[in-house]
Protein backbone atom coordinates (compact mmCIF):
# COMPACT_ATOMS: atom_id res chain seq x y z
CA UNK A 1 0.00 0.00 0.00
CA UNK A 2 1.47 3.38 -0.99
CA UNK A 3 2.04 5.77 1.83
CA UNK A 4 0.39 9.14 2.17
CA UNK A 5 2.39 12.04 0.76
CA UNK A 6 0.00 14.79 1.81
CA UNK A 7 -2.01 15.02 4.99
CA UNK A 8 -4.57 17.56 6.10
CA UNK A 9 -5.23 17.30 9.83
CA UNK A 10 -8.37 19.00 11.07
CA UNK A 11 -7.78 22.02 8.90
CA UNK A 12 -10.11 24.99 9.21
CA UNK A 13 -10.02 28.24 7.32
CA UNK A 14 -12.33 31.22 7.67
CA UNK A 15 -12.47 34.28 5.46
CA UNK A 16 -13.66 37.63 6.63
CA UNK A 17 -15.93 39.25 4.09
CA UNK A 18 -16.56 42.92 3.80
CA UNK A 19 -20.15 44.07 3.99
CA UNK A 20 -21.81 45.59 0.98
CA UNK A 21 -22.63 49.26 1.18
CA UNK A 22 -26.14 48.76 -0.13
CA UNK A 23 -27.20 46.40 2.60
CA UNK A 24 -28.01 42.80 1.93
CA UNK A 25 -24.59 41.37 2.51
CA UNK A 26 -23.43 42.01 6.00
CA UNK A 27 -19.82 41.81 7.00
CA UNK A 28 -19.22 38.33 8.25
CA UNK A 29 -17.27 35.15 8.29
CA UNK A 30 -17.24 32.58 5.55
CA UNK A 31 -16.18 29.19 6.80
CA UNK A 32 -14.34 27.88 3.78
CA UNK A 33 -13.03 24.74 5.44
CA UNK A 34 -14.21 23.19 8.65
CA UNK A 35 -12.11 20.59 10.34
CA UNK A 36 -11.12 18.85 7.16
CA UNK A 37 -8.84 15.82 7.39
CA UNK A 38 -7.68 13.83 4.44
CA UNK A 39 -4.74 11.90 3.09
CA UNK A 40 -3.47 11.80 -0.45
CA UNK A 41 -1.39 8.75 -1.33
CA UNK A 42 1.84 8.89 -3.24
CA UNK A 43 1.36 8.65 -6.98
CA UNK A 44 -2.42 8.89 -7.07
CA UNK A 45 -4.72 11.45 -8.62
CA UNK A 46 -7.03 12.54 -5.87
CA UNK A 47 -10.19 14.39 -6.86
CA UNK A 48 -11.75 17.04 -4.70
CA UNK A 49 -15.27 17.48 -6.05
CA UNK A 50 -17.57 20.28 -5.02
CA UNK A 51 -19.68 23.20 -6.10
CA UNK A 52 -18.52 26.79 -6.09
CA UNK A 53 -17.99 28.06 -2.58
CA UNK A 54 -17.55 24.56 -1.19
CA UNK A 55 -13.99 25.29 -0.08
CA UNK A 56 -12.28 23.08 -2.63
CA UNK A 57 -10.13 25.88 -4.04
CA UNK A 58 -9.22 27.01 -0.52
CA UNK A 59 -7.91 23.54 0.21
CA UNK A 60 -5.69 23.75 -2.88
CA UNK A 61 -4.41 27.19 -1.93
CA UNK A 62 -3.51 25.98 1.55
CA UNK A 63 -1.49 23.16 0.10
CA UNK A 64 0.58 25.40 -2.18
CA UNK A 65 0.91 27.84 0.71
CA UNK A 66 -0.84 30.76 -0.89
CA UNK A 67 -2.86 30.82 2.33
CA UNK A 68 -2.33 29.53 5.83
CA UNK A 69 -4.81 27.46 7.78
CA UNK A 70 -6.48 28.99 10.78
CA UNK A 71 -6.21 25.81 12.76
CA UNK A 72 -5.05 22.33 11.99
CA UNK A 73 -1.96 21.22 10.11
CA UNK A 74 -1.03 20.55 6.52
CA UNK A 75 1.83 18.09 6.10
CA UNK A 76 3.74 17.12 3.01
CA UNK A 77 6.09 14.18 3.47
CA UNK A 78 5.76 14.69 7.18
CA UNK A 79 6.84 18.31 7.04
CA UNK A 80 4.44 20.78 8.62
CA UNK A 81 3.78 23.60 6.18
CA UNK A 82 3.28 26.39 8.67
CA UNK A 83 6.81 25.95 10.02
CA UNK A 84 8.49 26.44 6.65
CA UNK A 85 10.57 29.58 6.24
CA UNK A 86 13.38 30.80 4.05
CA UNK A 87 15.38 28.13 2.31
CA UNK A 88 13.09 25.31 3.38
CA UNK A 89 10.08 27.19 2.03
CA UNK A 90 11.84 27.70 -1.26
CA UNK A 91 12.66 24.00 -1.42
CA UNK A 92 9.00 23.29 -0.74
CA UNK A 93 7.99 25.58 -3.58
CA UNK A 94 10.12 23.53 -5.91
CA UNK A 95 8.36 20.32 -4.94
CA UNK A 96 4.76 21.56 -4.93
CA UNK A 97 3.20 23.31 -7.88
CA UNK A 98 -0.20 24.51 -8.95
CA UNK A 99 -2.13 24.71 -12.21
CA UNK A 100 -4.62 27.53 -12.06
CA UNK A 101 -8.16 27.65 -13.30
CA UNK A 102 -8.04 30.52 -15.75
CA UNK A 103 -5.30 30.30 -18.36
CA UNK A 104 -6.19 33.78 -19.53
CA UNK A 105 -5.12 35.14 -16.16
CA UNK A 106 -2.37 32.82 -15.03
CA UNK A 107 0.28 33.84 -17.56
CA UNK A 108 1.98 37.21 -17.43
CA UNK A 109 0.92 38.95 -20.66
CA UNK A 110 4.28 40.71 -20.86
CA UNK A 111 6.37 37.54 -20.85
CA UNK A 112 6.96 35.27 -23.81
CA UNK A 113 6.17 31.57 -23.50
CA UNK A 114 9.85 30.82 -23.09
CA UNK A 115 10.24 33.41 -20.35
CA UNK A 116 7.21 32.10 -18.49
CA UNK A 117 8.33 28.49 -18.56
CA UNK A 118 11.99 29.19 -17.84
CA UNK A 119 11.29 31.34 -14.80
CA UNK A 120 10.90 28.54 -12.24
CA UNK A 121 14.20 27.00 -13.40
CA UNK A 122 15.93 30.35 -13.05
CA UNK A 123 14.47 30.93 -9.61
CA UNK A 124 15.65 27.58 -8.31
CA UNK A 125 18.90 27.67 -10.32
CA UNK A 126 18.26 24.17 -11.60
CA UNK A 127 20.08 24.58 -14.87
CA UNK A 128 21.72 27.20 -16.99
CA UNK A 129 22.63 27.94 -20.57
CA UNK A 130 21.99 25.30 -23.17
CA UNK A 131 20.70 22.76 -20.65
CA UNK A 132 18.13 25.16 -19.31
CA UNK A 133 16.88 25.85 -22.80
CA UNK A 134 16.71 22.15 -23.61
CA UNK A 135 14.67 21.51 -20.51
CA UNK A 136 12.18 24.22 -21.40
CA UNK A 137 11.89 23.00 -24.97
CA UNK A 138 11.39 19.39 -24.02
CA UNK A 139 8.74 20.35 -21.45
CA UNK A 140 6.87 22.43 -24.00
CA UNK A 141 7.05 19.47 -26.32
CA UNK A 142 5.80 17.16 -23.59
CA UNK A 143 2.63 19.20 -23.05
CA UNK A 144 1.92 18.82 -26.75
CA UNK A 145 2.93 22.18 -28.12
CA UNK A 146 4.85 21.02 -31.10
CA UNK A 147 7.24 21.95 -32.50
CA UNK A 148 8.27 23.86 -29.37
CA UNK A 149 10.49 26.20 -31.37
CA UNK A 150 7.44 27.72 -32.98
CA UNK A 151 5.86 28.51 -29.60
CA UNK A 152 8.65 29.81 -27.39
CA UNK A 153 8.81 33.21 -28.99
CA UNK A 154 5.10 33.84 -28.83
CA UNK A 155 3.15 35.73 -26.23
CA UNK A 156 0.06 34.57 -24.35
CA UNK A 157 -2.34 36.73 -26.37
CA UNK A 158 -1.25 34.87 -29.51
CA UNK A 159 -2.36 31.51 -28.14
CA UNK A 160 -5.75 29.88 -27.66
CA UNK A 161 -7.03 29.19 -24.16
CA UNK A 162 -6.13 25.54 -24.39
CA UNK A 163 -2.62 26.31 -25.57
CA UNK A 164 -2.18 28.76 -22.72
CA UNK A 165 -3.26 26.13 -20.24
CA UNK A 166 -0.64 23.79 -21.66
CA UNK A 167 1.98 26.47 -21.16
CA UNK A 168 0.79 26.84 -17.57
CA UNK A 169 1.12 23.08 -17.11
CA UNK A 170 4.61 23.19 -18.60
CA UNK A 171 5.55 25.96 -16.18
CA UNK A 172 4.36 23.86 -13.24
CA UNK A 173 5.97 20.64 -14.46
CA UNK A 174 9.31 22.04 -15.50
CA UNK A 175 10.42 21.85 -11.86
CA UNK A 176 9.55 18.16 -11.80
CA UNK A 177 7.54 18.57 -8.62
CA UNK A 178 6.35 15.74 -6.38
CA UNK A 179 2.88 17.17 -5.91
CA UNK A 180 0.67 19.27 -8.14
CA UNK A 181 -2.60 20.97 -7.32
CA UNK A 182 -4.73 21.31 -10.45
CA UNK A 183 -7.53 23.78 -9.70
CA UNK A 184 -10.30 23.21 -12.27
CA UNK A 185 -7.78 23.39 -15.09
CA UNK A 186 -10.41 22.83 -17.79
CA UNK A 187 -13.42 24.80 -16.61
CA UNK A 188 -12.59 27.69 -18.93
CA UNK A 189 -11.87 25.50 -21.92
CA UNK A 190 -13.91 23.82 -24.62
CA UNK A 191 -14.82 20.19 -24.18
CA UNK A 192 -12.54 18.93 -26.93
CA UNK A 193 -9.69 20.77 -25.28
CA UNK A 194 -10.50 19.49 -21.80
CA UNK A 195 -9.84 15.97 -22.99
CA UNK A 196 -6.38 17.09 -24.13
CA UNK A 197 -5.60 18.60 -20.76
CA UNK A 198 -6.88 15.49 -18.94
CA UNK A 199 -4.67 13.29 -21.06
CA UNK A 200 -1.66 15.51 -20.47
CA UNK A 201 -2.24 15.25 -16.73
CA UNK A 202 -2.42 11.46 -16.97
CA UNK A 203 0.73 11.44 -19.07
CA UNK A 204 2.54 13.61 -16.52
CA UNK A 205 1.67 11.24 -13.75
CA UNK A 206 2.89 8.30 -15.76
CA UNK A 207 6.11 9.97 -16.77
CA UNK A 208 7.14 11.77 -13.59
CA UNK A 209 5.25 9.77 -10.99
CA UNK A 210 3.79 12.90 -9.47
CA UNK A 211 0.86 13.00 -7.12
CA UNK A 212 -2.01 15.24 -8.16
CA UNK A 213 -4.84 16.89 -6.30
CA UNK A 214 -7.45 17.47 -8.96
CA UNK A 215 -10.03 20.06 -7.95
CA UNK A 216 -13.19 19.95 -10.01
CA UNK A 217 -16.93 20.51 -10.02
CA UNK A 218 -17.46 17.72 -12.51
CA UNK A 219 -18.04 14.18 -11.30
CA UNK A 220 -17.62 12.95 -14.86
CA UNK A 221 -14.16 14.48 -15.11
CA UNK A 222 -13.28 13.05 -11.70
CA UNK A 223 -14.44 9.63 -12.82
CA UNK A 224 -12.18 9.80 -15.81
CA UNK A 225 -9.07 11.07 -14.09
CA UNK A 226 -9.07 10.19 -10.44
CA UNK A 227 -8.19 7.14 -8.43
CA UNK A 228 -9.95 8.35 -5.31
CA UNK A 229 -12.25 11.28 -4.75
CA UNK A 230 -13.62 13.31 -1.90
CA UNK A 231 -16.90 15.18 -2.15
CA UNK A 232 -16.86 18.50 -0.34
CA UNK A 233 -19.85 20.65 0.59
CA UNK A 234 -19.77 23.94 2.48
CA UNK A 235 -16.33 23.27 3.87
CA UNK A 236 -17.09 19.73 5.04
CA UNK A 237 -15.94 16.51 3.46
CA UNK A 238 -19.06 14.44 2.81
CA UNK A 239 -17.75 11.29 1.27
CA UNK A 240 -14.38 9.76 0.43
CA UNK A 241 -13.64 6.64 -1.57
CA UNK A 242 -12.42 5.31 -4.87
CA UNK A 243 -13.83 7.22 -7.81
CA UNK A 244 -15.80 4.25 -9.09
CA UNK A 245 -17.28 3.48 -5.68
CA UNK A 246 -18.34 7.03 -4.92
CA UNK A 247 -19.86 7.64 -8.33
CA UNK A 248 -21.52 4.30 -8.89
CA UNK A 249 -22.53 3.62 -5.30
CA UNK A 250 -22.81 6.99 -3.61
CA UNK A 251 -23.72 6.77 0.05
CA UNK A 252 -24.13 10.39 1.08
CA UNK A 253 -27.43 12.07 0.19
CA UNK A 254 -25.52 15.09 -1.11
CA UNK A 255 -23.42 13.02 -3.50
CA UNK A 256 -26.65 11.39 -4.63
CA UNK A 257 -28.24 14.79 -5.20
CA UNK A 258 -25.25 15.81 -7.30
CA UNK A 259 -25.57 12.71 -9.45
CA UNK A 260 -29.32 13.26 -9.80
CA UNK A 261 -28.67 16.75 -11.09
CA UNK A 262 -26.33 15.79 -13.90
CA UNK A 263 -27.84 15.79 -17.37
CA UNK A 264 -27.68 12.23 -18.60
CA UNK A 265 -29.12 11.89 -22.01
CA UNK A 266 -28.98 8.29 -23.11
CA UNK A 267 -27.61 7.08 -19.81
CA UNK A 268 -30.69 7.46 -17.67
CA UNK A 269 -31.24 3.69 -17.46
CA UNK A 270 -27.74 3.09 -16.19
CA UNK A 271 -27.88 5.61 -13.41
CA UNK A 272 -30.41 5.20 -10.63
CA UNK A 273 -32.34 8.21 -9.45
CA UNK A 274 -31.91 8.85 -5.75
CA UNK A 275 -34.24 11.76 -5.02
CA UNK A 276 -32.42 12.94 -1.94
CA UNK A 277 -32.78 16.66 -2.57
CA UNK A 278 -35.56 18.71 -1.03
CA UNK A 279 -37.07 21.14 -3.51
CA UNK A 280 -37.25 23.87 -0.91
CA UNK A 281 -34.99 24.44 2.04
CA UNK A 282 -36.39 23.32 5.37
CA UNK A 283 -38.18 26.23 6.92
CA UNK A 284 -38.16 27.31 10.52
CA UNK A 285 -35.08 25.38 11.61
CA UNK A 286 -31.60 26.53 12.33
CA UNK A 287 -28.76 24.78 10.61
CA UNK A 288 -26.44 23.74 13.40
CA UNK A 289 -26.08 20.12 12.43
CA UNK A 290 -25.20 18.44 9.19
CA UNK A 291 -24.35 21.04 6.51
CA UNK A 292 -26.71 19.31 4.10
CA UNK A 293 -29.55 19.09 6.59
CA UNK A 294 -31.51 21.98 5.10
CA UNK A 295 -31.80 20.33 1.69
CA UNK A 296 -31.72 16.66 2.67
CA UNK A 297 -34.87 14.62 2.13
CA UNK A 298 -33.51 11.76 4.20
CA UNK A 299 -32.55 13.81 7.22
CA UNK A 300 -33.86 13.02 10.67
CA UNK A 301 -34.81 16.17 12.44
CA UNK A 302 -33.59 15.15 15.84
CA UNK A 303 -30.13 13.96 15.06
CA UNK A 304 -29.17 15.53 11.71
CA UNK A 305 -30.39 18.95 12.70
CA UNK A 306 -28.41 19.09 15.91
CA UNK A 307 -25.13 17.30 15.40
CA UNK A 308 -22.48 17.48 12.72
CA UNK A 309 -21.76 13.97 11.54
CA UNK A 310 -18.09 13.05 11.47
CA UNK A 311 -16.36 11.39 8.53
CA UNK A 312 -16.64 7.74 9.58
CA UNK A 313 -15.32 4.64 7.84
CA UNK A 314 -18.02 2.47 6.29
CA UNK A 315 -15.78 0.04 4.47
CA UNK A 316 -12.17 -0.34 3.43
CA UNK A 317 -10.99 3.08 2.30
CA UNK A 318 -14.53 4.38 2.27
CA UNK A 319 -15.69 7.24 4.51
CA UNK A 320 -19.02 9.01 4.79
CA UNK A 321 -20.12 11.91 6.95
CA UNK A 322 -23.74 10.92 7.43
CA UNK A 323 -25.71 9.38 10.29
CA UNK A 324 -27.73 7.33 7.86
CA UNK A 325 -25.45 6.54 4.93
CA UNK A 326 -27.05 4.85 1.95
CA UNK A 327 -30.36 4.95 3.73
CA UNK A 328 -33.23 4.42 1.29
CA UNK A 329 -33.36 5.72 -2.25
CA UNK A 330 -31.12 4.51 -4.99
CA UNK A 331 -32.95 1.25 -5.16
CA UNK A 332 -32.98 0.90 -8.91
CA UNK A 333 -34.05 3.55 -11.36
CA UNK A 334 -37.32 4.72 -9.97
CA UNK A 335 -38.48 7.89 -11.59
CA UNK A 336 -36.26 9.81 -14.03
Amino acid sequence: MPEPILKLEEVSKTYRTKGSMFGGRAAGLVKALQCVSLEVLKGEIFGLVGESGSGKTTAGRLIVKLESPESGRVLLNGEVLSTLRGRRLKAYRRRVQMIFQDPYQSLNPQLSIYESVVEPITIHRLAAGRERMERVLSMIQTVGLSPPESFVNRYPHQLSGGQRQRVAIARAMVLEPDFVVADEPTSMLDASYSAKIFNIILEMRKRFGITILFITHSLAAARYLCDRIAVIYRGHLMEVGTAAEVIHHPLHPYTRALIDALPKFGLAEQIPRYNTLLEEERAGVEAVGCPFFMRCRKAHRTQCGREVPGLEPVGPGRFVACFFPGNGGGAGGKGS
Binding site: K90, M98, F100, N108, S112, R171
Partner: protein
Protein backbone atom coordinates in the same frame (compact mmCIF):
# COMPACT_ATOMS: atom_id res chain seq x y z
CA UNK B 1 20.47 27.54 -37.63
CA UNK B 2 21.58 26.62 -34.14
CA UNK B 3 19.59 26.81 -30.97
CA UNK B 4 21.43 29.72 -29.49
CA UNK B 5 20.50 31.88 -32.39
CA UNK B 6 16.90 30.84 -32.41
CA UNK B 7 16.34 31.78 -28.81
CA UNK B 8 18.09 35.03 -28.61
CA UNK B 9 15.69 36.27 -25.98
CA UNK B 10 16.87 39.83 -26.01
CA UNK B 11 16.14 40.08 -29.68
CA UNK B 12 12.70 38.62 -29.35
CA UNK B 13 12.00 40.88 -26.41
CA UNK B 14 12.88 43.82 -28.58
CA UNK B 15 10.66 42.66 -31.38
CA UNK B 16 7.84 42.13 -28.88
CA UNK B 17 8.13 45.65 -27.61
CA UNK B 18 8.53 46.95 -31.14
CA UNK B 19 5.37 45.15 -32.20
CA UNK B 20 3.52 46.52 -29.19
CA UNK B 21 4.82 49.97 -29.86
CA UNK B 22 3.86 49.90 -33.52
CA UNK B 23 0.40 48.64 -32.71
CA UNK B 24 -0.07 51.34 -30.11
CA UNK B 25 1.43 53.92 -32.37
CA UNK B 26 -1.02 53.14 -35.16
CA UNK B 27 -3.97 53.69 -32.79
CA UNK B 28 -2.28 56.75 -31.37
CA UNK B 29 -1.54 58.46 -34.63
CA UNK B 30 -5.06 57.90 -35.96
CA UNK B 31 -6.27 60.08 -33.14
CA UNK B 32 -6.43 63.76 -34.20
CA UNK B 33 -5.39 64.82 -30.70
CA UNK B 34 -2.35 62.62 -30.87
CA UNK B 35 -1.45 63.91 -34.29
CA UNK B 36 -1.74 67.55 -33.24
CA UNK B 37 0.15 66.90 -30.00
CA UNK B 38 3.02 65.18 -31.73
CA UNK B 39 3.17 67.89 -34.40
CA UNK B 40 3.39 70.65 -31.83
CA UNK B 41 5.98 68.80 -29.79
CA UNK B 42 8.15 68.31 -32.84
CA UNK B 43 7.92 72.05 -33.44
CA UNK B 44 8.98 72.83 -29.88
CA UNK B 45 11.70 70.23 -30.08
CA UNK B 46 13.07 71.92 -33.18
CA UNK B 47 12.94 75.26 -31.38
CA UNK B 48 14.88 73.86 -28.43
CA UNK B 49 17.44 72.32 -30.75
CA UNK B 50 17.71 75.53 -32.75
CA UNK B 51 18.40 77.55 -29.62
CA UNK B 52 22.13 76.90 -29.98
CA UNK B 53 22.29 78.48 -33.42
CA UNK B 54 21.80 82.26 -32.80
CA UNK B 55 24.53 82.60 -30.11
CA UNK B 56 26.84 80.77 -32.45
CA UNK B 57 26.14 83.26 -35.26
CA UNK B 58 26.76 86.31 -33.14
CA UNK B 59 27.45 86.69 -29.39
CA UNK B 60 24.83 89.43 -29.21
CA UNK B 61 22.19 86.73 -29.69
CA UNK B 62 23.09 85.09 -26.40
CA UNK B 63 19.71 84.94 -24.68
CA UNK B 64 20.92 86.08 -21.27
CA UNK B 65 24.08 88.05 -21.72
CA UNK B 66 24.07 89.12 -25.34
CA UNK B 67 23.03 92.74 -25.88
CA UNK B 68 22.71 94.49 -29.18
CA UNK B 69 25.17 97.36 -28.79
CA UNK B 70 23.00 99.62 -30.96
CA UNK B 71 19.80 99.12 -29.02
CA UNK B 72 19.29 99.92 -25.36
CA UNK B 73 15.54 99.62 -25.07
CA UNK B 74 12.73 97.39 -26.24
CA UNK B 75 11.96 97.71 -29.93
CA UNK B 76 9.62 95.80 -32.19
CA UNK B 77 10.47 93.12 -34.76
CA UNK B 78 13.10 93.85 -37.36
CA UNK B 79 15.21 91.83 -39.76
CA UNK B 80 18.02 91.71 -37.23
CA UNK B 81 15.75 90.85 -34.32
CA UNK B 82 12.83 88.79 -35.66
CA UNK B 83 10.72 89.29 -32.57
CA UNK B 84 12.30 92.51 -31.39
CA UNK B 85 14.37 93.11 -28.27
CA UNK B 86 13.70 93.39 -24.57
CA UNK B 87 14.27 96.40 -22.30
CA UNK B 88 18.01 96.20 -22.50
CA UNK B 89 18.37 95.18 -26.11
CA UNK B 90 18.51 91.40 -25.81
CA UNK B 91 17.12 89.41 -28.72
CA UNK B 92 13.64 88.08 -27.94
CA UNK B 93 13.71 85.35 -30.58
CA UNK B 94 16.80 83.71 -29.14
CA UNK B 95 15.26 84.02 -25.67
CA UNK B 96 12.16 82.27 -26.92
CA UNK B 97 14.25 79.44 -28.38
CA UNK B 98 16.23 79.09 -25.16
CA UNK B 99 12.94 79.08 -23.25
CA UNK B 100 11.81 76.03 -25.22
CA UNK B 101 14.93 74.20 -24.11
CA UNK B 102 14.32 75.14 -20.49
CA UNK B 103 10.66 74.16 -20.70
CA UNK B 104 11.57 70.70 -21.98
CA UNK B 105 14.30 70.34 -19.42
CA UNK B 106 12.16 71.38 -16.49
CA UNK B 107 9.03 69.61 -17.70
CA UNK B 108 10.56 66.28 -18.58
CA UNK B 109 12.99 66.02 -15.68
CA UNK B 110 10.43 67.06 -13.08
CA UNK B 111 7.84 64.71 -14.58
CA UNK B 112 10.40 61.93 -14.71
CA UNK B 113 11.21 62.40 -11.04
CA UNK B 114 7.53 62.55 -10.15
CA UNK B 115 6.77 59.37 -12.00
CA UNK B 116 9.79 57.42 -10.77
CA UNK B 117 8.95 58.36 -7.18
CA UNK B 118 5.23 57.80 -7.67
CA UNK B 119 5.67 54.43 -9.34
CA UNK B 120 8.19 53.16 -6.80
CA UNK B 121 6.12 54.30 -3.84
CA UNK B 122 2.83 53.18 -5.39
CA UNK B 123 4.17 49.72 -6.17
CA UNK B 124 5.71 49.34 -2.75
CA UNK B 125 2.54 50.43 -0.99
CA UNK B 126 0.31 48.25 -3.14
CA UNK B 127 2.51 45.19 -2.96
CA UNK B 128 3.50 45.34 0.71
CA UNK B 129 0.05 46.32 1.95
CA UNK B 130 -0.78 46.66 5.64
CA UNK B 131 1.27 49.15 7.66
CA UNK B 132 3.63 50.12 4.86
CA UNK B 133 0.66 50.86 2.64
CA UNK B 134 -1.09 52.91 5.31
CA UNK B 135 2.02 54.93 6.16
CA UNK B 136 2.92 55.69 2.56
CA UNK B 137 -0.61 56.59 1.58
CA UNK B 138 -1.08 58.89 4.57
CA UNK B 139 2.16 60.59 3.60
CA UNK B 140 0.79 60.91 0.10
CA UNK B 141 -2.41 62.45 1.44
CA UNK B 142 -0.48 64.98 3.49
CA UNK B 143 1.65 66.04 0.56
CA UNK B 144 -1.30 66.06 -1.77
CA UNK B 145 -3.17 68.65 0.28
CA UNK B 146 -0.14 70.96 0.56
CA UNK B 147 -0.27 73.64 -2.14
CA UNK B 148 2.94 73.21 -4.11
CA UNK B 149 3.19 76.76 -5.33
CA UNK B 150 2.72 78.28 -1.90
CA UNK B 151 5.30 75.98 -0.42
CA UNK B 152 7.87 76.87 -3.07
CA UNK B 153 7.15 80.56 -2.53
CA UNK B 154 7.79 80.13 1.17
CA UNK B 155 11.06 78.33 0.47
CA UNK B 156 12.07 81.05 -1.91
CA UNK B 157 11.25 83.69 0.68
CA UNK B 158 13.42 81.83 3.19
CA UNK B 159 16.39 80.97 1.01
CA UNK B 160 16.30 83.64 -1.67
CA UNK B 161 16.45 82.81 -5.36
CA UNK B 162 16.10 79.14 -6.18
CA UNK B 163 18.26 77.25 -8.61
CA UNK B 164 16.35 75.70 -11.55
CA UNK B 165 17.26 72.18 -10.37
CA UNK B 166 15.99 72.95 -6.91
CA UNK B 167 12.70 73.88 -8.48
CA UNK B 168 12.67 70.63 -10.44
CA UNK B 169 13.42 68.70 -7.27
CA UNK B 170 10.64 70.40 -5.36
CA UNK B 171 8.11 69.76 -8.11
CA UNK B 172 9.18 66.12 -8.16
CA UNK B 173 8.85 65.80 -4.39
CA UNK B 174 5.44 67.41 -4.36
CA UNK B 175 3.68 65.88 -7.31
CA UNK B 176 4.24 62.15 -6.85
CA UNK B 177 1.23 61.35 -4.64
CA UNK B 178 -1.29 61.45 -7.49
CA UNK B 179 0.81 59.06 -9.53
CA UNK B 180 1.42 56.76 -6.61
CA UNK B 181 -2.30 56.46 -5.91
CA UNK B 182 -2.99 55.27 -9.43
CA UNK B 183 -0.02 52.92 -9.50
CA UNK B 184 -0.96 51.55 -6.10
CA UNK B 185 -4.47 50.64 -7.17
CA UNK B 186 -3.13 49.10 -10.36
CA UNK B 187 -0.65 47.09 -8.29
CA UNK B 188 -3.40 45.99 -5.92
CA UNK B 189 -5.43 44.59 -8.78
CA UNK B 190 -2.37 42.98 -10.36
CA UNK B 191 -1.46 41.38 -7.07
CA UNK B 192 -4.71 39.41 -7.15
CA UNK B 193 -4.08 38.12 -10.65
CA UNK B 194 -3.24 34.42 -10.83
CA UNK B 195 0.00 34.99 -12.73
CA UNK B 196 1.41 36.73 -9.66
CA UNK B 197 0.24 33.84 -7.51
CA UNK B 198 1.78 31.44 -9.99
CA UNK B 199 5.09 33.25 -9.58
CA UNK B 200 4.76 32.97 -5.81
CA UNK B 201 4.07 29.27 -6.03
CA UNK B 202 7.11 28.93 -8.29
CA UNK B 203 9.14 30.42 -5.44
CA UNK B 204 9.79 33.90 -6.84
CA UNK B 205 11.11 36.45 -4.35
CA UNK B 206 9.28 39.70 -3.62
CA UNK B 207 11.79 41.67 -5.63
CA UNK B 208 11.41 39.34 -8.55
CA UNK B 209 7.64 39.61 -8.46
CA UNK B 210 7.78 43.39 -8.27
CA UNK B 211 10.32 43.91 -11.01
CA UNK B 212 9.56 41.01 -13.30
CA UNK B 213 5.81 40.72 -13.02
CA UNK B 214 4.28 43.89 -11.68
CA UNK B 215 6.49 46.62 -13.07
CA UNK B 216 6.15 45.76 -16.79
CA UNK B 217 2.41 45.85 -16.29
CA UNK B 218 2.28 49.26 -14.60
CA UNK B 219 4.92 51.02 -16.68
CA UNK B 220 2.57 51.98 -19.51
CA UNK B 221 0.38 53.70 -16.95
CA UNK B 222 3.38 55.48 -15.43
CA UNK B 223 4.34 56.65 -18.86
CA UNK B 224 0.90 58.04 -19.44
CA UNK B 225 1.04 59.93 -16.18
CA UNK B 226 4.38 61.31 -17.08
CA UNK B 227 2.92 63.25 -20.01
CA UNK B 228 0.32 64.80 -17.75
CA UNK B 229 2.94 65.64 -15.16
CA UNK B 230 5.09 67.42 -17.74
CA UNK B 231 2.22 69.83 -18.26
CA UNK B 232 1.90 70.62 -14.61
CA UNK B 233 5.65 70.98 -14.10
CA UNK B 234 5.92 73.50 -16.93
CA UNK B 235 3.06 75.60 -15.56
CA UNK B 236 4.47 75.56 -12.05
CA UNK B 237 7.88 76.67 -13.27
CA UNK B 238 6.33 79.42 -15.40
CA UNK B 239 4.25 80.66 -12.51
CA UNK B 240 7.24 80.75 -10.19
CA UNK B 241 9.36 82.59 -12.71
CA UNK B 242 6.62 85.07 -13.42
CA UNK B 243 6.24 85.78 -9.74
CA UNK B 244 9.93 86.47 -9.56
CA UNK B 245 11.09 83.29 -7.88
CA UNK B 246 12.64 81.68 -10.93
CA UNK B 247 16.27 80.86 -11.45
CA UNK B 248 17.86 84.21 -12.38
CA UNK B 249 20.52 82.39 -14.34
CA UNK B 250 18.16 80.87 -16.90
CA UNK B 251 15.90 82.28 -19.56
CA UNK B 252 12.54 80.62 -19.33
CA UNK B 253 9.28 81.73 -20.83
CA UNK B 254 7.97 82.55 -17.39
CA UNK B 255 11.07 84.66 -16.86
CA UNK B 256 10.41 86.54 -20.11
CA UNK B 257 6.89 87.25 -18.95
CA UNK B 258 8.21 88.51 -15.67
CA UNK B 259 10.57 90.91 -17.41
CA UNK B 260 7.71 92.26 -19.55
CA UNK B 261 5.69 92.88 -16.50
CA UNK B 262 8.43 94.23 -14.26
CA UNK B 263 9.66 96.75 -16.82
CA UNK B 264 6.15 97.99 -17.49
CA UNK B 265 5.88 96.75 -21.06
CA UNK B 266 2.75 94.66 -20.43
CA UNK B 267 0.52 96.70 -22.70
CA UNK B 268 3.14 98.43 -24.75
CA UNK B 269 5.03 95.55 -26.29
CA UNK B 270 2.73 92.77 -27.58
CA UNK B 271 5.65 91.39 -29.62
CA UNK B 272 7.32 90.69 -26.30
CA UNK B 273 4.33 89.59 -24.25
CA UNK B 274 2.56 87.28 -26.69
CA UNK B 275 5.22 84.81 -27.90
CA UNK B 276 6.15 83.36 -24.49
CA UNK B 277 2.53 83.36 -23.40
CA UNK B 278 1.42 81.49 -26.49
CA UNK B 279 4.35 79.07 -26.20
CA UNK B 280 3.51 78.17 -22.61
CA UNK B 281 -0.10 77.51 -23.54
CA UNK B 282 0.77 75.48 -26.60
CA UNK B 283 3.43 73.30 -25.02
CA UNK B 284 1.21 72.37 -22.08
CA UNK B 285 -1.64 71.77 -24.50
CA UNK B 286 0.49 69.52 -26.67
CA UNK B 287 1.61 67.34 -23.75
CA UNK B 288 -1.96 67.16 -22.60
CA UNK B 289 -3.15 66.06 -26.02
CA UNK B 290 -0.35 63.53 -26.13
CA UNK B 291 -1.55 62.12 -22.86
CA UNK B 292 -5.16 61.96 -23.95
CA UNK B 293 -4.24 60.14 -27.12
CA UNK B 294 -2.08 57.70 -25.15
CA UNK B 295 -4.96 57.19 -22.79
CA UNK B 296 -6.93 55.87 -25.71
CA UNK B 297 -4.15 53.49 -26.64
CA UNK B 298 -4.01 52.13 -23.12
CA UNK B 299 -7.75 52.04 -22.58
CA UNK B 300 -8.62 48.43 -21.83
CA UNK B 301 -11.96 48.70 -23.61
CA UNK B 302 -10.16 49.55 -26.80
CA UNK B 303 -7.77 46.67 -26.33
CA UNK B 304 -10.59 44.24 -25.84
CA UNK B 305 -11.98 45.04 -29.24
CA UNK B 306 -8.64 44.22 -30.77
CA UNK B 307 -8.56 40.86 -29.06
CA UNK B 308 -11.94 39.85 -30.36
Amino acid sequence: MDNGERFDTSRMKRSHWAAHFLEGWSVFIQNPLGKAGVGLLILFGLMAAASVIPPWIDPMYRPMTGVDPEIVRSVGPSLKHWLGTDFMGRDLFSQLLAGARIAFMVGVSAAFMTVVLGTAIGMTAGYMGRTVDTLLMRLADIIMVMPTLLFVLMLAALFGQLNIWTIVLIIGLFRWPGVSRVIRSQTLSLKQRPFIEAARVAGASHLRIIFRHIMPNVLPLSFLYMTFRVTSAITIEAALAFLGFGDPGTVSWGMMLQWVWKTGHMFKAPYWLLPPGICISLITLSFYMLGRAMDEVLDPRLRKEEDA
